[in-house]
């Protein structure tokens, strides 16, 4: 089993994030900053954008999760204080947002996000995610790999990650999905499900179990070439660029909110095989960047679109 021996990047887990969005109104940014400020949190970065057509506000604040409170007490006291301050902050935010009809998400990063990866037979996205994770580029734990095939088990074993096989047939799909949901929710406690070229189409039941938490990679520049075999269609059409699109999976196949897209040049010399090969490089990078944005809490979904704040 491979275990990277280089010194790890300094963990960023001292940073908590607050995301707020909803109807715009007077003083929202100031109110949120004030609130964190008064509780003793040091704000280290923020970005906010107003959709002036829809009159909606989108706000993201990153702050040091350790409140700077004068304390004569020992470590225990300080921990106790920190917990109490966090609770009080959450309550105050609830009230602030309720009054203004705003949604908020507060991520204390007490523990790292738990990511489950679902794959079929293609391995390129899986390797990319596991290697970026191993290099500390993804701030999460990878808690399990689920597949409808057994062939990528050795990849999982390379990194010591549990591999769960759920063969899918027309007959057993709903039942297998139930098992998968149970595993993901109850056992792995996954917050994020990444479809790393998972080739099965989910039922609504599965999708609704993880709203805005399933990240899929589609091997085309959506909305061009929806559905299966986009590289064949791209070859037929004679395009000069091919793309890849990472999006949240929703009930409408290939129509979920787009997080990240990229393209690569192709020429007449590239047959379908060539497009597939060039596409692999795209897919793994686009998927990894989308997951990174999600894990950094830089994404807010609304109206089937994503606001993605800068890294």
């Amino acid at each position: 089993m491979f275990r990277r021996s280089l010194p790890r990047f300094k963990s960023l887990t001292n940073l908590a994030t607050l995301k707020v969005h909803g109807p715009d109104g007077k003083g929202i940014v100031a109110a949120c900053c004030n609130l964190l400020d008064r509780k003793g949190y040091e704000i280290v970065g923020s970005e906010h954008w107003t959709d002036r057509i829809e009159n909606l506000i989108f706000l993201r604040i990153a702050f040091d999760k350790e409140p700077q409170i004068a304390s004569s007490g020992g470590l225990l006291d300080r921990c106790q204080n920190a917990v109490e301050t966090a609770d009080a902050t959450e309550q105050a935010l609830q009230q602030l947002c309720r009054d203004r009809d705003l949604a908020f998400q507060l991520n204390w990063r007490q523990e790292r996000a738990k990511v489950a990866i679902m794959v079929s037979k293609y391995d390129h996205c899986l390797w990319e995610l596991l290697l970026r994770h191993e290099a500390d580029e993804l701030d999460c734990d990878i808690v399990g790999i689920l597949s409808n095939h057994d062939n990528l088990r050795p990849v999982a074993e390379t990194f010591g990650i549990p591999y769960h096989l759920f063969p899918i047939t027309k007959q057993n799909k709903r039942e297998q999905e139930r098992h998968e949901i149970q595993l993901l929710k109850d056992v792995l406690q996954a917050n994020v499900v990444v479809l790393a070229r998972y080739m099965q189409i989910f039922t609504q039941h599965f999708l609704q179990a993880f709203p805005n938490s399933i990240i899929n990679i589609h091997h085309s520049f959506l909305p061009a070439f929806q559905g299966s075999r986009p590289h064949h269609a791209a070859f037929e059409r004679g395009v000069k660029l091919i793309g890849a699109t990472a999006h949240y999976a929703t009930a409408d196949l290939d129509e979920g909110p787009i997080i990240e897209q990229d393209v690569i040049s192709v020429t007449h010399r590239d047959g379908v095989d060539g497009l597939i090969q060039k596409g692999r490089i795209l897919e793994r990078n686009v998927l990894a960047r989308a997951l990174q944005a999600h894990l950094d809490d830089r994404v807010i979904v609304y109206n089937n679109k994503c606001v993605v704040f800068g890294d």
Copy 2:
């Protein structure tokens, strides 16, 4: 009227080009090279590609158009020789290609290509083409600008290029097209028609008059967002890149062979206006690059696709 006063780039017009394509067969490249060689032409560049699935060959040869013939005569003799050699070459090529069922195009560049530009109200593509032309980046003469509106006449006048107004209504479209074809063919003797954001849809009649010679710019990454208002559709979909596509205009709107495509990043901050603004930069560059490839004789069309050889 603006006239650029910088020293011009060395003309490339000493180079002629031969393009050949059709069923692959034994010794085609050698035969073509031999033929030019024996006639005294110095080959300075060539590229050939075989579509091994369709079993088709695509060949482009650039050669010095002055044959290197031992000649004791004066200038007149040499000119006479050159003309005779060119004729003989053309005949020999005709025979070579007829035997093998190949198509060929021989461009002696005795005179520069004659390009006509058609525009409506948007000026960005027109400026780009005229400025690149003025900077000697486009190896052609721009023989006229046709428009269904009068508002870009001052741009034409800036460069001293004739501007022809053809207002289009539902009633007069066919008749106006006839006049346009007459102007383009008989008066301007245009080889290439560039639709620089020309907003009228042509009848078959017009399109068939200029096969593989009308270059259109569509303001999306085709086949995504065909038809009108692609930036509005892109905004609605929440894409993270927008594109532009230059293609030969055919009877199927937005479905002609693609010459060149490119994309640019957009974010949630870009409204429709922002997409349109970013799109302008794309459109003018993609269109100019496509025209350049066409004028360099680097494009071969087949099966509704373009083979575009390297520059």
Copy 3:
């Protein structure tokens, strides 16, 4: 003279911007937001970043410059109120920032920035800026063009912009610079000077007259190929990409703070002429983007670097 007849983009001039930077400290973002809020200004966007190594804060807030004040008075009263509120805001900010040792810039956009362009013989950057300006992509007035040569006067006349000739020799350089400064400061009242491939090297005297206000375009990917003839050097080295760099001009030639950079692919087929031609496309786009960022008040300079906030 060319005058664009399309409907103009909606002016953005209802937005004022506040930029703040300096030593980080508790509650700066909240304090600034509160201050604007209390004065009745609607904040429509903000971004802030903390350099945690140097312990510096960088903040940019965009807000509606019309305060929303309950007012029973007429238009005159409201104007009077607006002016008084702006003054009061400025004073309050002065105090807030003085106490914390912060620098701030408040741009009310009462009038558009005044941009002067300096050129020599190359026209591509000049055209790009004038055309983007004409298309309302640059939120400024272009108040004059200065050159050491007369050949681009027709470009200026195309857009009706005054053209000022200052021929430079070794002997008259200092004196001509004095005249240029006088023209720029006293007559044109320029806030920004754009060197659109201006080929003269300034004395310190000139540079110090416009701190962080002179934007230069260098035709290489700095710090590679500093100095003159970078394309020749790039050709010699056999690089596979060439670049362009827009930066604020400082006393150290080609070493000022970088605002924007980009590159374009080149191949063995590109001779020096080819690099120059491809470079032109780069230079004009990089320079225009840098000017746009500057005009949007998205740039803060420190430690010879630029913080460039998102557009």
Copy 4:
């Protein structure tokens, strides 16, 4: 040990390549095509470029390595014929090129290229190469991994590739290099040595043992930021893009002929760690693309530059 179980891409090994370069002259392309043609080889692609300033020709021909010879014999006869034809072709080419002072390389691809990889502690380039190899994107055998550290042995073991440890000190460098050369030449019979972030500087002795066969990746956009710690220097300078450069290693450190370069955007938010992380993605892709071009026989070196033909 990981072993990919997907169906492999169709091997390209039925294609042989001929590269020719040297002083330009009449009829070289025709002569080479004729020669291959007469021996019964089907040419499936070719590209040729003339450096008209230096008057040099560069030619690459890809052809089916099985000659199409009328043969009534069995398999053995045909094999015998093929070998004899290849020998005769080689001799004829020798004579053709000797007469014209041309250099040629004929790659029959009887066996795949043998690639050895040298690494130190960073693993990202190593993984990329091994995974692309495993996915059949690199047409070679990876015959061994050499390192001055032991920590990447598990990566090698994941793919079942021998790992050879050569710890380097000031004292033992020359001796270790001798051992490495012996291993590479005599045991592994490597044709190509890839320095996948190998952090030792070689002596001339080592470099001369593998002319134009050692591919190095430098983590900057050369010639910017030569030498060590380029990301630190890039951070200090405040660049807006960082680069990576793959080149053949020569006696002049970081000055060898450049095969491939690419860049990625960075912002003020990227500290040195951020640059290093973004750089990793660049480095592994640039190195892999350079190796691919080398293995495809698409590179010809001259005058410390690389002609890289299209893929």
